[in-house]
Each structure stands twice: as C-alpha cells, then as structure tokens.
Symmetry: C2
Subunit: 418 residues, 2 copies
C-alpha cells in the first residue's frame, strides 16, 4: 500500500520552516507497513492545492496532507477539499464547543475566526483534535483515502497517533507487523554490521534488521511481517518470534546496548541513578555545559543531578575542582592525569556520589600533532574508582562536542553496571 | 521566475533523514529574486526519477535536484538524466583527477567505484565540486534549466553558492536586488509590527519588510528590488536607498536590535567582551548549562569565557556561589534576592569580570500559583552593578530553557552597552 505526503503552505516554500512532519509521518507509516512513494509541497492558492492533490491521488492510494488549516487561511484548503469531493460546508457544533472550552480554560476571549474553524465539509469524517483548534478531515473516493491535518507538529502527531494510523491500519493493513528496537552507543554502523553478519544470515525471511544511525549512536530495529495465513494467534506468535531474535541480537552485542525503543542515554542513566539513590555532577571543559544541558533537558533531573562545573579555563579547574596546577603544567589540560583529577575533584568538591569529567580539543583551533583537534579525554569516578579513556573524534567543533557527550554518558552508564 | 526543488532518494521517503536542504535552497533563491512554487521527493528508481523530473519541468522554469548521486547509486540518476536530455556518457578526466587528489591527500586508497563518479553526461555543463566526489550537472532544454546536485548538505551548499546561484542570477535575474537584515531579541513579532506600522507605511513600493521569527528573536529583512530602467549605477543607488531605510528601521526599534545579517547573540556578546578585554562566567540553575553550551558552541570562546557553575541544587548555589542559605530559605531559589546573590557570587567566587545568573522553573513540575512554570529570574552583574528581571515564559520545558538563554544573553548585551 502506497502513501503520498503533501504539505500546503508558503512557509515551507520560502524556506521559513523546515518540514520535519513528513519524516516523522514516513517513519510511523513504515511501522504499520505502509510505504511512502512520494512527497510534495505546494503553496496555499486554490489552483496549486487542486493540482497538488490531483497529482498525489494519481500516485498513491493514501494521501496525507498537512498545513493550510490555520485560523487565518483555512478557508482556502477546506473549501477546495469540499469542492473536490463534491461536499457542502456545515457548522460542526462538537468542534465549536471544544474550541470554546479551550479558550474558556486558558481564560482568553475566543476570536470570531474560530466560528470558521468549526465550519467543515459535510462529506468528511471529522477527526477530533484535542490539542488544538483545527480539526482533521478524512475523505474517501474510489477506494482511496485523503486526510487533511494541521501543520503544527504536535497537533499532527496527536491526530496521526490517535485517529489516522489506527484507521489506516484497519482499512489497509491486514497483516500483523511487529517491531522491536535496541539502542546502541559507542560503535559505528559498519563495525556493528560486521559483528552481526552471522545474526543477519540466520534471520528468517520475514524478519528484517534495520540500522538507524545518529551521532555516536545506532538504533537497531527488527521488523517481523507475518508471512502465512492470518489466524487469531498470528500476532502473538510473530511477537514471540521477533522477541526471541531480539534476545539473540542483544546477546551478540551486549556491550553496546544501552536501552530499548524510545529511551535516551541520559534517561537510562537517570533511571539508574534514581534507583541507586546516587547523585551526579559533571566537570566539563571542551563540552562547555553540553552534557549538563542534555541531562537537564529531561524533566525530573533534579532528583539526581546536583550540577556542573564548566571549567573552561585552567584557573577554574584548579579553583573549583582542586586540580593540581603541576598536573596541568606537566601533562596539559587535555590529558589522562588532568581529567582524572577533574572527576575525583568533582566528587570531592561538588559533593556528588558520581562524576563525569571531560577535557578535549573541540577545534577548529588548539590542535597539535600529538593532540589533534577532536582529541577528548573522558573520566568517570565515584571517588574510590576512577576510569579514564581517550577518544579521537573528527574536525567539526559541533560534532566533537556532541560525540563527547554521548561517549561520556555511555561511559557512566557502563560504570553504573559494574 | 519560478523554481521547483526535487529530492531523489529513499532515505527521505522512509523518513531516515529530514530534508533541510530544500529550506536552505528556498531562502537562497528568494534572496536573488527567484521563488520556489513547489517541492517534491521521489525514490531512486528510473521510473520515479523520470516522472518526478517531467512533473517538475511542467511546473517551473528552473528545476534543482538534490540526491541520488552517491558512489553506490549515482548510475541511475546520471544515466536517467543523460537519457532524458539525449546525451551520451563520457569519462571526465578533470573530475577524476580531482577525486584522485582527494584520496591521495587523506591517504586512503581510491575505491574502484570512483571511476563511475567521474563518468558524466556529455550534454551537461559539469559543476566542479571541490568539497566532495560527486560533480554537479547543469542541463538546459527549451529555455529551462535543470541542475543536479549531491544531497550532502555542505556539498550542495558549496555548489549552490559558487556555481548555481551566480549562473541563475546571470541567466534569469536582470534586476538588482539588495537585502539588509537587522536582528532583534526580547519582543515578539506582533509587538514589533505595532511599533513599525508608520515605518512600513512610509516604505516605497520597491522595498519590502519581512519578519523572520525564531524563539525569543525576530530577524527583520528589508529587500529592495530595482523598479525602473537598469543603468550602470542602479545597484549602487538601490543599495544606498535600502541602507537609508535600514538606518531608520534601526532607530525606530534601537532598544531591540542586537546585530545584523548572520551574527548571533552569543557572537555579538563575545565580540564586545573581547574588545573590552573582559571575562564572563555563568551561574545556571533552570537553564542547566544551556547558556554555557551556546557560548562555547562558537570557536574562540576561551578568549573571554572562563566557565560556568551549573548549580542545580540549593547546596551547590551556597557552596560554589556563596549564596546565603537564609536568602534561599526566606525568598526561595527562584527569586530576585537569590539570583542577584548568584550573579554577584559568580564574579566573586569564579573570578570573572562579568556574570550571568539564571534561576527559574522550567517545568513541567515545580510550579505554584505564585510562581508558575515558566517563571525565570535573570541577573547580570559586574560585581559593582547588578541588574535583575523576572520573565514568565510558557509551559514547555525545552522552550523555557531556550527562551531564558536568549533573554539572559540579551540582558548581558545591553548591560555591556551601558
């Protein structure tokens, strides 16, 4: 079954916003076995919208439209859709009541334009948007489905998850599909692929392995598609099969796996620290507060995170962390000796149970033959036991900072397991 | 003149990568007066590529293609393009020599597939890619232009900037266009628009003002398009006109403007600190190291930035910054009194000339009726003079952290001017 994604709106065409919706939608559709065979964007004029929709309906059985539904310009999109599907427009009381309730709740007067937001095509199945004012609309014609959704990402995601994907799955996808994802850090895609050659060889035809790489991390997703006749227990049998292979996969690269599904490295570390009732602090030189920012980006970090000393200057390393000036003079700020003293000094001076310390050369300047740009020392300590490792990343400042963040959290995660 | 942007490649269709190229390309094309009237994505099969190109050529005079040129799969795209434009394929010595030199320089053996990378359509003007192995290709047919570019962002940007945009400007854009951009922080788009009503009214027809908003910041871009007969000095005359209005614009909202063109708030602050030979440290509670991360994301931050105390816990505020425990007990960690002591304590204890301090409730938990989620106190101090202000942002944790970062840097920027 093929889908086409169409965005409506000048803000995409002038490059004011990057379209992140369609990548998210593609991934969600793939997960239920629907593939996207094309995407397109048109401006918000009637002519362009009609041409865009006709083009999309010519290419696919399912057309998902985002955008063109804001309170200032939804008339064109809705009216065009109504005309194309031979539908009148009616006032939709349920939608109006929901919008009224929303404005009442936030204590703001409802703008008159909201009456238009509740005027919708008769022929459409209205998809109730509980997180915004623009409703979704589901049309059918000649066995094809066209759905119009608001362009605001969290409204689109709400409607896709709660209204669109379940309906599409029911209508178009009879075959059970099961996914399991393992999250790894610390190795690249090709190195992992070499270790998984035998595993991939042994997979049955109906289970596939996908590599989904990000900076310093690779997600490994097993997808099983039920191959035979569909019986009452097919989904359960398939789930058991996929989970069996997930266990084998995990055992094959146990040292690289830090989590499953939608977890994050900082989230996994946080959960462990919470369970152990241990606190954490960081001492950051080249990462400049990025690790601390990652940790505190997740709600509830204050349960275990006491803070960070971003010691960009040598004086700060000495003063806040108690690093011995002679250590920096003899070995340099980017050295095993300094980073170990930073980690141990963090536990001692900042009073945390555990510490991460990082010192490196993010670039573009500051590199030498011996210590090129990208050289980063990372240490983890609990005051009694201290580990330190050197990494050499690349030449890009931003990527070096991000890679150091991932590797540092990964080192702490392993440290907590030992 | 209208352009269509076409991406080729399954990685876009399965949602593995977000297409950031096309937003960047749209903005660059707009700057030279070419508007994008559509975008589309197709998979990397011959049939899809042909259908995608024919569709695009039917809609626009300029078609810019990205992707489908990697060493493993460029055959299809290049061969399809050659066939569509009735062209043979030839070995392109210059491209091959350039690729060989690249592999020699990085000390890696050249894979055999690189011979294919240098085999290119005869009918295309080859655009030399100095930052990668895939060449760009420029085709013309019936007055229309079709350009194929690699999908790797920095390679595409290199070829657009150095080869494609100058040629498009020459071929399609006779009329001089001049842009000037002012950067503002601290006010929303609609509040600024109210202050600029008279200014906008007074603008001549051939100069337009665009609002380009981001979180906590709005860029204001004046674009002049030469309206009359084109003479030798038209561009100079237009430039002088646009600059005259840029001065008026700046004077109208002087208090909001922090920079011009491609500057950043942290970059502007950094330049001032460098010029003044003053150092900076930050004390961050709810921002959790984000401000420090912003500052150290730019190369050369070590010239002025000594570091940060991310004091997530009250103990850390007391211990590292010397905040009086009674202040926290009496007024709370999120209060004018505490944030002032944090800023002054940073100058004193971390030894910097200037300090930013932030304490707030990022959410989603921790809010009260008196201090709802989004309440943030920000202070700036040089040890003698200390300013503090309260802001109430929204309910989203991530946005609150980002907004606090922008407002804190903005407060320091103004402080440095006083």
């Amino acid at each position: 079954m093929k889908a086409h994604l169409l965005t409506i709106g000048d803000e995409i065409l002038i490059g004011q916003i990057v379209d992140t919706n369609s990548a998210w939608m593609s991934r969600q559709l793939n997960l239920i076995g629907i593939s996207v065979n094309g995407k397109s964007s048109v401006g918000d004029t009637r002519t362009d919208i009609i041409a865009g929709i006709e083009h999309a309906l010519g290419l696919a059985d399912i057309v998902l439209i985002t955008g063109g539904l804001g309170p200032t310009k939804d008339d064109i999109t809705k009216k065009t859709l109504a005309d194309m599907f031979g539908s009148g427009m009616s006032f939709h009381q349920e939608t109006f009541d929901r919008i009224s309730a929303y404005f009442q709740k936030v204590g703001r007067p409802m703008p008159p334009s909201m009456r238009d937001q509740a005027t919708l095509p008769d022929q459409a199945l209205i998809l109730i948007n509980k997180v915004g004012t623009a409703a979704g609309m589901w049309f059918e014609r000649d066995g094809k489905v066209l759905v119009s959704l608001p362009g605001v990402p969290f409204e689109m995601e709400y409607l896709m998850t709660n209204e669109v994907l379940p309906r599409l799955k029911n209508k178009f996808v009879a075959r059970p599909i099961v996914h399991r994802t393992l999250l790894t850090a610390g190795e690249g895609e090709s190195a992992i692929a070499r270790r998984l050659e035998d595993f991939e060889e042994a997979l049955p035809d109906y289970i596939k392995l996908a590599y989904l790489p990000a900076l310093g991390q690779v997600r490994l997703r097993l997808t099983g598609v039920w191959p035979g006749e569909i019986l009452a227990d097919s989904e359960a049998v398939l789930t058991a099969e996929v989970e069996k292979y997930t266990v084998v996969l995990r055992n094959t690269i146990e040292d690289l796996v830090f989590g499953t599904e939608t977890q994050t490295l900082q989230g996994v570390v946080g959960e462990k620290l919470r369970a152990l009732k241990r606190t954490l602090a960081t001492a950051e030189s080249c990462t400049g507060g990025y690790i601390s920012h990652l940790i505190t980006s997740e709600a509830g970090a204050s349960d275990f995170f006491v803070g960070s000393a971003v010691t960009y200057s040598n004086e700060m390393k000495i003063q806040l962390l108690g690093v011995n000036p002679a250590t920096i003079a003899n070995f340099g700020a980017v050295s095993e000796e300094t980073v170990r003293e930073m980690a141990e000094g963090t536990v001692k001076n900042l009073g945390s149970d555990l510490a991460i310390a990082v010192s490196g050369i993010a670039g573009p300047a500051g590199g030498t033959t011996e210590k090129p740009v990208g050289t980063v020392w990372i240490s983890v300590s609990n005051g009694n036991r201290t580990l330190a490792s050197k990494f050499v990343f690349g030449r890009d400042r931003g990527k070096n900072i991000q890679m150091a963040g991932v590797y540092a959290l990964n080192m702490l995660n392993k440290f907590l397991d030992q």
